[in-house]
C-alpha cells in the first residue's frame, strides 16, 4: 500500500467521522447528511481500490482520469447547491408565516392587557 493511499484512507475516515459527529450532536439533519455520507463512501472506494478510477475513466473513454473526479464533484456540488436554495426558499416562507403569526398574537395580548 502506497503512502498516499494511507493518507487518503485516513482523510476519508476523518471526513466520515466528522459527519457522524455532526449528526449525533444534532447539528446536521439526517436528510442533509445523506449526500455527505454518500460522498464519503465513494471516496473510500477510490482510496481502497486505486485502479477503480482508471477503469472507470477507460470505461467512459476519458483520457485524463482525474478530470472524471472534477466533473463528477462539480456536478454533485451544483445539484446540492440548488437543493440548498430550495430549502432556503421554503424556510423563508416558514419564517414569514411565523413572524406574521407573532405580530397578530402580540396585538391580541396587548388588547387583553388594556382591559
Amino acid at each position: 500500500m502506497d503512502k498516499i493511499q494511507i493518507v487518503a484512507i485516513i482523510a476519508v475516515l476523518f471526513f466520515i467521522g466528522l459527519i457522524s459527529r455532526f449528526i449525533i450532536r444534532g447539528k446536521l439533519r439526517t436528510e442533509y447528511s445523506i449526500i455527505w455520507i454518500l460522498i464519503g463512501l465513494i471516496l473510500m472506494v477510490f482510496s481502497l481500490w486505486r485502479q477503480s478510477l482508471d477503469l472507470l475513466a477507460k470505461f467512459f473513454g476519458v483520457f485524463y482520469a482525474p478530470s472524471l473526479i472534477f466533473i463528477f464533484f462539480f456536478f454533485m456540488i451544483f445539484i446540492f447547491l440548488i437543493h440548498l436554495s430550495v430549502v432556503n426558499s421554503k424556510q423563508h416562507e416558514q419564517i414569514k408565516k411565523l413572524a406574521q403569526e407573532i405580530a397578530l398574537l402580540k396585538e391580541k395580548i396587548s388588547e387583553k392587557n388594556k382591559i
Partner: protein, 243 residues
C-alpha cells in the same frame, strides 16, 4: 318595518417602514373620514422600523401591529389581510404610509365594492391625469408592467404599481394564500385575475411623499424589472397549469 342597514367594517392597512414623520397626520386624516354605513378602522403595521415609528404609533394611540422582523412590504400588507380576515372585516384598504395616498380619496376606491361591482379596486392617478404624476422613468416601468399584465391576463390596469387598493372578503381570502414579498403590486393583479376576481381601476388624486424615503429608490433598477417580470410570468404559468 324599517330597512335593516348593516354597517360595513372597513380596515385601512398602512404598512410603515420608517414613517415616524407621517403617521400622526395620516391617523388624524383617517379618523376624520365619514362614510355612510361604514366603520373605518386604521391599522398601522410597523415593519421593524429603525426610527421611532413604534413610539409615535403608541403616542397617538393608533391600533397597530409590530413585526418582530422585517417582513418587507408584501409580507406586511399580507399580515394586514390576515388581521382583516380574523377580525371579520368586510373590506380591506391598502394605503402607503408616506402620505402619497390621501385618505380623502378613500370613498372613491371603496364605492365599486360597496355597489358589488368589483372584488378589487385600484386607485389610479393616470385615468384623469390629475395630481402627482411621478417621474419619467417610474412611468416607463409602470407602463411596462401594465402592458405585461395586458399580455398575460388581458386586462389593462394603467397604474399597475399603485398601492392604493381596496379588496372585498373574497379577494382578502385569496391574498392570504399568496402575496409577493417585494414590489407586489403588478404581480398581484395577475394573481387576482387568475383567481377570477373582478378588478376595476378608479381615478384618484395622489401626492408626492410627505417625508421619509420611498421603498423604491430607483425605479429604473434593472433588478426590479427583471424580478417582477419573472415572478409574474412564473406565477401565471403555474396558475394556468394548475387549471
Amino acid at each position: 318595518m324599517g330597512r335593516i342597514v348593516t354597517s360595513k367594517k372597513i380596515l385601512v392597512i398602512i404598512p410603515c417602514y420608517n414613517e415616524a414623520e407621517n403617521v400622526a397626520l395620516l391617523y388624524n386624516q383617517i379618523k376624520e373620514i365619514q362614510i355612510e354605513n361604514c366603520k373605518v378602522t386604521p391599522l398601522f403595521i410597523n415593519d421593524y422600523s429603525t426610527d421611532n415609528t413604534k413610539t409615535k404609533l403608541e403616542q397617538i394611540g393608533a391600533k397597530y401591529l409590530d413585526n418582530p422582523i422585517n417582513l418587507q412590504i408584501g409580507g406586511t400588507v399580507q399580515l394586514g389581510f390576515m388581521y382583516a380576515n380574523e377580525n371579520n372585516f368586510d373590506i380591506a384598504i391598502q394605503m402607503d404610509g408616506d402620505g402619497q395616498h390621501p385618505p380623502s380619496e378613500l370613498n372613491k376606491i371603496i364605492k365599486p365594492i360597496l355597489l358589488n361591482e368589483a372584488d378589487v379596486v385600484i386607485g389610479s392617478r393616470y385615468i384623469n391625469k390629475e395630481g402627482f404624476q411621478s417621474t419619467f422613468f417610474r412611468r416607463f416601468g409602470i407602463d411596462f408592467f401594465s402592458k405585461l399584465n395586458k399580455l398575460l391576463v388581458g386586462i389593462t390596469v394603467k397604474d399597475s404599481t399603485s398601492g392604493y387598493r381596496a379588496y372585498n372578503k373574497n379577494a382578502i381570502c385569496n391574498l392570504i394564500d399568496y402575496y409577493p414579498d417585494e414590489y407586489p403590486e403588478p404581480e398581484a393583479i395577475v394573481y387576482l385575475v387568475n383567481k377570477k376576481l373582478k378588478i376595476v381601476e378608479v381615478p384618484v388624486l395622489m401626492k408626492s411623499r410627505l417625508g421619509g424615503v420611498s421603498s423604491i429608490k430607483n425605479f429604473t433598477s434593472i433588478y426590479y424589472m427583471i424580478k417582477v417580470s419573472l415572478n409574474t410570468l412564473f406565477l401565471h404559468l403555474k396558475m394556468k397549469s394548475n387549471g
